[in-house]
């Protein structure tokens, strides 16, 4: 990553020399200016204003009484995280648990479906791809209704059609804690559409000679998948991993289906920040929680990029 940044820096001419170059730079800047203005107004300034808020006791109902409280909010976060009845600790550990379960599940499902739907033997590929992508365009509220209904212990279908006839213990329904966690993972699996398409797109770029060579060398379908497909599409896997992990921590999803601030597809910790913000109106404390989450996410992303060199394959020896 560092080398690529350095290379980018050396490639980009920071000091235009001739009049022509200056003119080109000016016109280019003019074209990208909408994004620059938006970045400053909607991202950079708010991020630092949030940082400022996180050192105050900003309360939405009495904004006039706001005063500087130093690192009190951050001291409170530590208490909230590690004390016995701290809500933040509960929601953060839940979020991490959710990430550990849902992110690999999402990646493996997307990868498995992409492998199957890339098979040359498959008929009606386009229809199958559209059907797998379908849940990713359904609005979040509808997703919640469908799955809550389907999993409902009395009127739903999971117990009635599947678990009971198979003699399995009934599912307690999405309203219990364990049941809700399962619900979250299932709905996470219903948003793999973009990741699935990215992996499928990468698979179509695998040179067929490699498969032939592996075939000649006696590799079966599973070996070909593990030794040819997965290494070559590893950039797509890496990209999906980053996006899935970031979305667990409240960052962007590739195709946002609009989950509400109150529950739904967001992470428990994100939900907790929303509660502090909109139910108790403690904006100062909410800002410090958001900053803490931002830092956790940043650290996770940087750590992921640091591991990338060991397992992500770049054909021209480039790094992430």
């Amino acid at each position: 990553m560092m080398t690529s940044i350095r290379r980018f820096l050396s490639k980009s001419n920071l000091c235009p020399q001739t009049r022509m170059e200056r003119r080109e730079a000016l016109v280019g800047l003019l074209f990208i200016s909408p994004w620059i203005v938006g970045f400053l107004l909607l991202k950079l300034v708010p991020i630092f204003v949030s940082l400022g808020f996180s050192f105050t006791d900003f309360y939405m109902l009495y904004p006039g009484d706001t005063k500087f409280v130093g690192r009190e909010n951050y001291a409170h976060i530590l208490e909230d995280l590690f004390s016995e009845d701290g809500a933040a600790g509960y929601y953060l550990s839940n979020t991490i648990g959710f990430a550990i379960l849902s992110v690999p599940a999402q990646l493996l499902t997307a990868l498995g479906l992409a492998v199957l739907l890339n098979s040359q033997r498959l008929a009606a590929k386009e229809l199958h791809r559209t059907l797998v992508f379908l849940p990713s365009v359904i609005p979040g509220a509808a997703i919640a209704f469908v799955w809550f209904g389907f999993l409902d212990p009395t009127t739903g279908w999971l117990n009635r059609l599947f678990l009971e006839p198979l003699g399995l213990p009934p599912y307690p329904g999405p309203y219990s804690e364990a049941g809700y966690n399962l619900f979250r993972i299932i709905t996470a699996l219903w948003s793999i559409g973009p990741g699935f398409l990215i992996m499928l797109g990468a698979m179509r770029g695998v040179p067929p000679e490699l498969y032939e060579a592996a075939h000649v060398a006696g590799a079966g379908p599973i070996m070909r998948l593990l030794k040819v497909t997965v290494p070559i599409i590893s950039p797509a896997v890496f990209f999906s991993l980053v996006i899935n992990l970031v979305s667990v921590f409240g960052g962007a999803t590739l195709l946002d289906r609009g989950t509400s601030f109150s529950g739904g597809g967001q992470s428990p910790f994100d939900f907790y920040i929303g509660e502090v913000m909109f139910s108790s109106y403690r904006l100062g404390y909410a800002a410090s929680l958001a900053w803490m989450m931002f830092l956790i996410m940043l650290a996770t992303t940087i750590a992921l990029f640091a591991t990338a060199r060991y397992w992500v394959y770049y054909p021209d020896g480039d790094e992430a």
């Binding site: 990208i32 909408p34 938006g38 991202k43 708010p46 389907f150 398409l197 289906r257």
Partner: protein, 358 residues
């Protein structure tokens, strides 16, 4: 030549075996995929079945899993439900006229002239006779209560206005990034991609404060539209990758003819970028149509402006019966799903080719 008749036969046999094996593999792959897709989308069948059920079916534990109602028989001007009554010899479908604990009175619809028949036993142990009945009235009812056309129109307005804004600015920015040597341009582009990673919550408080207290945009569509006028990082990325792949010869020819940068964009670049522009617009459409967070933040105080996704989400808190919840879910997803199927060829293909990869 080793092409002796025996050898030839053995070879043919082996090839036949291979073909069989191959056909079996193909059949297995297809079966597996069809099975997995059915499992993956199975809850949608629950949604459709439930949406067509009548309210009464949810309190009836004997009711079948498909939308159904109890068959009734009109006898002396009144409707009576049909039950499967075991009698000596066979099970008869009789209408229950009078209910008692140990014996009940039935009428045989096939032969009503014989009059009431008394049957010994508890009628509660009997199974009703069901017939398939899709309750279209659920849809009519919800259509009328939530004012569906108006919600759709509101959503179309927001989606169109923000869509036009985001497309124009994203195209301009992507063009700027793909064709001009800007000092630090590559660094800016890395920054642009990195903005995707910024969590929404961290910018939320200041922007919320700015929109509601300073600009007084609470209860208007501005917060749902204005931020899109500055472009969208993912769409810019997608468009820029595509613009970069367009050969420059035509632009150079146009430049010699005296065309300016804007003219080159509209007459050279855009005509060659139809598919990627469609895809970017579709990505924005799917996002904006389902958008819920901004809508719930800023539209709450003005019910006239509710978007479809926001209105349907509110249904959750009304303790609506399961069938109405599923009807509302169907209403909410109908249009995006329709658009996906209508555009699947272009959309899926383009996302696959361009790849959203970094």
């Amino acid at each position: 030549m080793a092409d002796s008749p025996q050898h030839h036969r053995a070879h043919k046999k082996a090839r036949l075996g291979l073909q069989l094996w191959d056909g079996l593999g193909t059949a297995l792959v297809n079966l597996l995929v069809v099975f997995l897709v059915i499992v993956y989308l199975f809850p949608i069948s629950y949604m459709v079945f439930t949406a067509f059920k009548m309210d009464s079916q949810f309190s009836d534990i004997k009711a079948p899993i498909w939308p159904a109602r109890i068959v009734t028989y009109t006898y002396t001007g009144e409707d009576y439900p049909l039950y499967e009554v075991p009698t000596a010899g066979s099970i008869k479908k009789w209408a229950l006229v009078e209910r008692h604990r140990t014996e009940s009175t039935f009428v045989n619809p096939a032969n009503p002239e014989t009059g009431p028949i008394t049957w010994e036993g508890s009628w509660r142990t009997l199974d009703p006779v069901y017939e398939f009945y899709p309750a279209f009235e659920n849809f009519a009812y919800l259509w009328a209560t939530i004012n569906y056309p108006r919600l759709v129109w509101n959503t179309v307005k927001v989606t169109m206005l923000s869509g036009i804004g985001v497309m124009i600015s994203s195209i301009l920015v992507a063009y700027g990034f793909s064709r001009f040597r800007i000092p630090g341009g590559n660094l800016l582009f890395i920054l642009l991609i990195a903005t995707v990673l910024i969590p929404e919550k961290i910018t939320l408080i200041p922007t919320y404060y700015m929109f509601t207290r300073i600009l007084n945009w609470n209860g208007t569509y501005y917060p749902l539209i204005v931020p899109h006028l500055f472009g969208n990082a993912i769409l810019i990325f997608l468009l820029r990758q595509n613009f970069k792949s367009i050969p420059r010869e035509m632009e150079e020819a146009a430049m010699i003819d005296g065309a300016g940068p804007l003219r080159i964009l509209t007459s050279v670049i855009l005509p060659q970028s139809g598919p990627v522009i469609t895809t970017a617009a579709l990505l924005h459409f799917f996002y904006a149509w389902n958008e819920l967070r901004q809508a719930s933040l800023y539209l709450g105080i003005s019910p006239d402006l509710y978007t479809l996704a926001f209105r349907v989400q509110q249904y959750q808190s009304y303790f609506a019966p399961p069938n109405m919840l599923q009807v509302s879910a169907l209403f909410a997803m109908a249009i995006p799903v329709l658009v996906l199927f209508l555009t699947q060829r272009e959309f899926m293909h383009e996302v696959l080719i361009t790849g959203l990869e970094k």
